[in-house]
Symmetry: D2
Subunit: 388 residues, 4 copies
């Protein structure tokens, strides 16, 4: 199974099945001398736990306690690989017994079987479940742990990544710059919606869906601030290409757009081009300043990326996540013999991927940015003098 | 400059600056015994040439003649690296002289300067232009050449990739399944729009924009047929994640979506889940058949991908491309000293990236699929017995 | 710190500092369905523990207990990443206090300082020690654990790797084919010398060196049997090139040679060329047989490798390891201020890297072979049909 | 066919079959602003041409004329991929017709057949020959071209790589430090032996072997000077491990050793440890100086590498190359039907790999050092301030 590693210089490998002993990651390439403790990681992991209210709960209730096995000495990173593990406390493979002969609609059951077939041991069924443990949402715990390391690195260089719930079930919150948009508000509602009124509307809609045993899709917005201009490579490893790879690698993500996004298809060159507008007294000849400068274009339709390279403006993207496929309402499907059956998925499942997916989105973005920053330093050397 | 290579087993490296001697690529990992000739490559390159009508023309008129330097013997691939070069015939660095002291709005001038600074030789200006040659649209000629090799491989295994222009300047053509959608129609209009009436509307709009010295954004749709179920890796290298990386690495692409795409944010589990619907007499126990089967879900909201793995349905995605930033209309910008100036970009430029970007989209998709097919074979061995 | 991963398809990442919480590895790419238990790993780890006799002891006495965190379910590999950790029981950073201001001759103290400098926290000294933990011999425990997984895979396909102590302190044991060579004898003496008489001579020499506070260099021989012909890639990734990379990555290794090795410099084409000698009734036309066949050349000067590719004969190499630099005898050196000083290194250290290095040599060879086997299957598909 | 690329940051991909249109390479990752012209490359290529005297000639007489297709502008590297091609002028696949049904002893014929089998087209025989073109000595022309780029980079930073013929057919030249060793002498004899007397002895021996239709093995020595301390990664990517990978990837190389090499097996800690001996007034506290300093150990048994990391002393290694297997003398072998036959290989072949292999050895060493230097800068940033 390839594809368990991500990144080039700041490189992460994750391991663990949802019903195995532990989830974990190895973060290779993190610079030395960075302050890092388990609390930094635990804080991010807490954000991806199921909510505690009526709406936002899943069957797992364990608290994720990260343990750092290597790469940190007396609270500082050593520059060596950082291994982090999170024990799985209440794994219960038996939970899924009744489902094991069915293909759950919207799940990877069918694609895993097509890909891996059934090995011979123990009917193959349990083992298939054990294997699908890698495409479980629980795998993202390891990403969030790795992302927490990356975030610590980024924070030390003045770079912040902040995501929020932009829409749920078709109900959209105001966008940045629009009336009603208030990022502070995300702290006041469990869904992390940046508008009190929209949060209430969404809440009402979700209660309705919950009563019907249904679930909801959502839109997540994310901004990255403090990036130097110059990040991203001009050909295959464009900043937006790498971010797309990272975000679409999160299960259930069905699309991503940068800046004005899909709207560009309806725009013209005149309306879409962002006009550079540096102050007249800006010292253009100083290369170091240029590299560090926050550009001041008159608009940001580009979402902070030109030719695949950051331009110093805020990087902004939005991603769409499908409704969780596990629902209590009865659905049609077929069993493993091809017979049509009706089924309902019991237990407590997420009604919407937001807000739990927010720290995962931020973690994946952080991994991309940390990796590019370290490659960037390598590329231009003297042009980007920092202390890391 | 990292990021000139793409892929893992079927791996492509491109080289060449738009105003240098030649563009080219090395395709490493293509299986032996595949029929391949320069015509296969020339045919795809021809699709990305500027159009000949009033609307669709750019300043370059050379015909791209590919030369295969290695990896092919008497019309068959050897399994060794395939090097292909395309000489640049009418490169004229001088063309851009008047622009060299300005930051063109919507272009990578600023980001390249921030990233690379100005080396010392010859004022640095020309060299910067020479370097931006890597982010020129011309670089995609090398991708199309490499993609032609991948396509030949895919065709031999019954896999087809077909893209079309889904919208221009906000005028949308009917989607597959909608009245008026006719893929045959793409052969009849130079824009490759799958609807005669829409093509006419778009044409009228483009003439209007051309008169105003403006340009248009567009939406490209792409379908991949004949894929076996089981392609894509469950964690970081999901099929949709790799396709997103590939497509967003094309300059000017601002977003991608799979299946119902961004619409999922407004859907619910019940409305979005695709219901499996295999025929009752289907032999589920035969693993090989399962892997090869075209699944017959009752809908394809997922765009053919579940859990990052192909499910045997058609893979479908759409991508948004911004309006070309080089326009004849006067725009505001600043020069390299930071002074505000007005500018207009003369010469003949594309008014819209469609249809020239279509073979590039298909080439990048082909590279992803070829790479995954070869990895897939490695993963499951006996489950996927083919002749390659 | 790059370079903590090894391999392409069968890929290993190791982590852990000798004085940290745990050593460990993640083995990514191991096929599914392989029987694997902690005992398989513990058995190999036991071989690299310090000996218990008078001569063969080091300061560490803990038993290495491996724990498998992921990738194995009910005794079978899942195909997912296998994470293995080995807790460090009696780490005592204080042990080295008296040495921390000196450059130990033959150690990496100086090169680590040149490479990493001293970070600022806590005098920097302890942290430097914590970092050198990655070049400690203890890091090889993680390699042996990963190698045990690879060996299990190889054993399942009839491939065996066996190393022995070929010489110590200049006293050479008979070579294969020479009178007195008896591989069974390696079980009877703790040094794993394949000749009783030589083992006694070496033992006497080591007692003498121990009395003098000195240490001894050694030569390790290794044979790999059961390899199919066809392993290794013809250009940069030749089988011997990859094995050299692997074995020279073991600390203290100063050279490697294949087949007749350095002796070829004195040979001629006529004397060195191995003559093919397949039985006349051998069915040459059957490609599958050809790939699997053990070739029967009349000699094996090549050490089983031609053009970087295995030829079906036994692969044979020898590697030289320097005497352990930590010795009780007084040596000259300088301190971190550049002043000349005399020093002696107390505690219990290995007097010779053999026999502890044998499982490490085998582990690294196993990683190379497992990786190439999995790539080989990918390359030629139908030519190499096996059950894995 | 994997394994056509080498390096991580300074990354080279080679292509071309010996009987195809052209050999070539793409050098990706070379820094911008470096002076580079075709003469730099042609000069190195000339060194690997067959000699013109009686002894040193092969069948190919074309002059290798490199063409730079990209990555260089007005004599300076752009930082973009540098593609270099060398046309094959007098390829004659027919030359080998009489050999195509035989397995030549010492050649890769058998291993290639075992690895790739015979594809179906045109009897398969010619195609097999076309494929073995990748393991031909001619492939090294592309390496030498790439190495010339790396050497230009190294020279700009004061690093030199110099190899010579240390022994032929068992006749050894004096080693550095021994009486009679004179590196200037390598310019005076075509074999590049650093001792006039030894050169004459070797010449006499080679004439004798030539008369007998035989060939000779050789030993090549190589020193790398000017390296900063700190190059090489402590775990899998040790400097000596990477150099071993590089050198053993040259066809016909059978072994490598560093510093005192295999002799260490007979040494003790006291006799082998190199004693640090910096001048007392050396400013140890200055990290930058430390990194750049040429250490002054009292001996260099380690060959300039401790713990896999350069220590500032000269890096020294020796490699053994087998006698060329193509000889005029009659040999036994079998044909492709398994029948024993007698054969002789006509035409003009190298009688010894030295001196033609010297620029290949230097090229591969240069690729390793350039790659590590660029990674090193990335690792420690401020500790290694240079202008590249």
């Amino acid at each position: 199974m390839p594809g368990n590693s991500f990144g080039t210089v700041f490189k992460v490998t994750t391991f663990g099945e949802s019903h195995g002993k532990a989830m974990g990651c190895v973060v290779d390439g993190c610079p030395a001398g960075l302050s890092l403790c388990t609390e930094d990681i635990a804080g991010e992991l807490k954000r991806r736990r199921p909510g505690t209210g009526e709406l936002f709960s899943s069957s797992r209730s364990e608290e994720d306690v990260p343990e750092i096995l290597s790469g940190v000495f007396e609270g500082k990173t050593l520059g060596t690989p950082i291994a982090i593990i999170i024990n799985n406390i209440d794994q219960k493979p038996g939970d899924y017994d009744e489902l094991k002969y069915l293909y759950r609609p919207g799940h990877a059951d069918w694609t895993w079987e097509a890909k891996y077939g059934f090995p011979d041991w123990k009917e193959g069924i349990l083992s298939a479940i054990a294997r699908t443990g890698r495409s479980s949402g629980r795998e993202t715990a390891a990403r969030v742990a790795a992302g927490a390391v990356a975030k610590t690195f980024l924070t030390a260089h003045g770079i912040t990544i902040k995501s929020w719930t932009a829409a749920v079930a078709g109900i959209e919150a105001p966008q940045p710059g629009e009336a009603g948009f208030n990022l502070e508000e995300t702290k006041n509602n469990p869904l992390c919606v940046p508008c009190k009124k929209t949060a209430e509307q969404i809440n009402a809609k979700l209660e309705e869906l919950k009563a019907a045993g249904d679930s909801a899709g959502c839109l997540v917005a994310c901004r990255i601030n403090g990036l130097p201009a110059g990040l991203g490579e001009p050909v295959f490893d464009k900043l937006d290409a790498l971010l797309s790879h990272a975000i679409l690698s999160i299960g259930a993500c069905k699309g991503i757009e940068f800046g004005t996004g899909f709207t560009v298809a309806a725009l013209t060159g005149l309306s879409n081009n962002d006009v550079p507008a540096l102050p007249p007294n800006y010292a253009m000849s100083t290369q170091n300043n240029a590299a560090k400068a926050s550009a001041t274009f008159k608009s940001n339709n580009s979402g902070g990326i030109l030719g695949g390279i950051s331009n110093g403006m805020e990087v902004f993207f939005r991603a769409a996540f499908k409704p969780p496929p596990s629902i209590a309402a009865e659905q049609s499907t077929i069993d493993r013999s091809g017979n049509p059956v009706r089924m309902a998925i019991h237990g407590r499942h997420d009604i919407c991927l937001a807000p739990r997916v927010l720290p995962v989105v931020e973690a994946m973005a952080a991994l991309v940015i940390a990796d590019l920053l370290l490659q960037f330093r390598q590329n231009i050397g003297k042009h980007f003098q920092t202390s890391f």
